[in-house]
């Protein structure tokens, strides 16, 4: 498997080793994947990205970006980056920001000009291209940030909280841009605390806590591993009110939770659904909907962090 990012024992300490921000991280991000890095505040997500980009100096271990030693400037030749809480120089316009970072990325001339137009168009900022960044709203600055990260059509793009400060419509647009980049073959490394966003955009994730990777894999793998949901099924039934007999019968089939418009039942597996429907129909209960309830990423994430806290793992100090 070709890797866009690979770290081996990557670590970062502060205050002469007294604070461990990254603890011997081993991480693999395959080329072409949309990779999401999750973790509570202070987990070390941004530190990891900054370390990979040498904005923060690693204390130990090694890493490669697209197969090149991350310490070499060439490793960043095909890399784009949107930092969290960026502050582009207020004296530049949106197009000026793109021009500056485009030049730093090695673009020039007509190629640079056409890419600036294209990327600003893509993030919906063409009309604002000649307005100074100091006059932008946070959402607009974020879009320009995304545009500059895409300049040079990098093969690997780090996005640190890309939808931070963006309205819901804007978030949707940014997610579409990210998906489009994935389709074009770029590897996306997404840092976000918005779990639903990661779930929608990413195919692989890693969960980080106290400077270490707790789990990494596909979204489904992680949910199933953490929630222990393999085989078990939670089903929501929207029905007419159950009489006492029907309710008694349903309760025998598994853990039962009543709701305003029906009930939620934990069944041993999908094979148990049809007999239950038959039984409800036989008891003259009207069935409006049967919805399988999947454990989501948020639930898995919270459980994983709680498990670690219960086990007393970690602590960066």
């Amino acid at each position: 498997m070709e890797l866009a990012v690979e770290t081996k024992g990557l670590s970062k300490t502060y205050k002469r080793g007294r604070i461990l921000a990254l603890k011997a991280l081993d991480l693999q991000v395959p080329v072409g994947s949309a990779f999401g890095l999750l973790g509570p505040n202070g987990a070390g997500k941004s530190t990891l990205v900054k370390t990979l980009l040498t904005i923060v100096r690693a204390s130990g271990g090694s890493a490669t970006l697209l197969g090149i030693d991350f310490r070499k400037p060439e490793a960043r030749r095909n890399v784009g980056y949107l930092p969290e809480g960026h502050r582009f120089p207020g004296y530049l316009t949106g197009a000026g920001v793109c021009e500056y970072f485009g030049r730093l990325a090695g673009l020039r001339g007509a190629d640079l000009a056409s890419q600036i137009r294209e990327k600003l168009e893509l993030v919906g900022m063409s009309e604002w291209a000649d307005v100074k960044v100091s006059r932008y709203s946070k959402g607009m600055a974020q879009r320009v940030g995304l545009a500059q990260a895409m300049l040079g059509n990098p093969k690997l793009i780090f996005l640190d909280e890309p939808t931070d400060g963006v309205d819901p419509l804007g978030r949707q647009e940014i997610r579409e841009v990210i998906k489009r980049l994935c389709r074009q073959g770029s590897t996306i490394f997404l840092n976000s605390h918005l779990l639903s966003e990661v779930e929608q955009v990413c195919d692989r994730i890693a969960v980080m806590h106290h400077g270490r990777i707790l789990k990494q894999g596909s979204v489904r793998e992680i949910i199933e591993t953490v929630t222990g949901g393999q085989g078990a099924l939670q089903v929501r039934f929207r029905t007419s009110p159950l009489d006492a007999r029907a309710r008694q019968s349903v309760e025998k089939r598994g853990p039962f939770t009543p709701s305003d418009d029906g009930f939620v039942l934990n069944l041993p597996g999908p094979q148990a659904v049809t007999p239950l429907i038959d039984e409800l129909r036989a008891a003259d209960v009207e069935i409006f909907a049967v919805e399988p309830q999947h454990a989501n990423l948020e639930e898995a994430f919270i459980r994983l962090i709680q498990q670690q806290s219960d086990q007393g793992v970690g602590g960066t100090r």
């Binding site: 040498t54 930092p83 809480g85 960026h86 502050r87």
Partner: protein, 386 residues
Amino acid sequence: MQAFLAIVADTWRQSKQQWVFLILLVMLGAVTLTFAALTKVHDYGDGAESRHSQTLLWSWQDAPEEFSREDHWEGVYSMVIAKQQGREEILRRKRQEQQELKEEMIALSDEYSAAKKRNAPEADIDAINERAKALKEREDALLKETDRVNSEMLKEARAEVKRRSADISDLQKALEITLAQVTTFLTILTMLGFVAAASGYFPGLIAQGSVDSVLARPVNRLQVFFGKYVGGLALISAALFACWLALFITFGIKTGLWHWHFFSALPMTLLAAALLYAIVAWVGLMTRSTALSLVTGYFFYLVVDTAVHVMVTQAPNDPLFADWKWLVTMAEWVRYLFPNFRLMRESAEASVVNVPVFEAQPLIVAFAWLVILLVTAFRRFQRTDF
């Protein structure tokens, strides 16, 4: 190289947006324009010898002042020549001897009072008086000798100036002194304005959220650091060069004299600007504060530099400091430890007046400071986690 130039260009863009930088440019332009437009060539008249036929005046003047520009030129020239003759050291020693004599007199006076108090024999009192008389004679002789050395020095200097400037016309002298004056104005303005303009360059560069995007690009920190430094310096260099060129051409056309030595003041002025910028950049990198960087820049240029200048030039010679010997000793050290912008400026002026004296000491100290400041600031920049 492209990344380096991109950072240089960005610094230019940043400067163009700063009102303080624009004010500096306007003031530099105003000084240049004033000297270029408001001076005229004055003819002394038909009877004058060709070498003394013309001089420079302000446009509103009809005749030269009593102390003309060429007199001023000769004054500056002879001071430098006097310095070159090395007599200053002799004078310094004479002043030191005078001070020692003064101390002996005071001690003798105390001895006399004590002798009177204890009703010492008349013979003892007479002996003290004899010694006092001898001391007074020595002091008088010393004063005469000092005056003689001093006047001899000036006389020789004047004679040397006359000899060396025999072929130099009054107009040339007036031109040289005028350009030396404009050098002074431009240098002071540059220093004062450039501190204000440059104090924000490095704190702005390393601000959280700003430096990240730059360092994430395929550039190394050396390019980023020196791109910013060279960018700022190149901008002020371009502005100063434009002023120099405008003055050179204007005065060349006006007088018919193309004084190429005027350009020799430019490297000195730029070295001073580079050093002050390095101080400001160093503080900016260490503290991340524009305000602190600005205050330090001005404090160094206005307060520290004045103190250093007083110590270096006044303390060893001025009798006012004679009682503080430690200050005189310290001044010797300070001369080699601290840069002195005023000495550099005086050297720049002297180079315009074309005096064949080159004072290397202030340049060496300034250059050493520049290297140390840039190396330590870069090491800090290189080792910082942003």
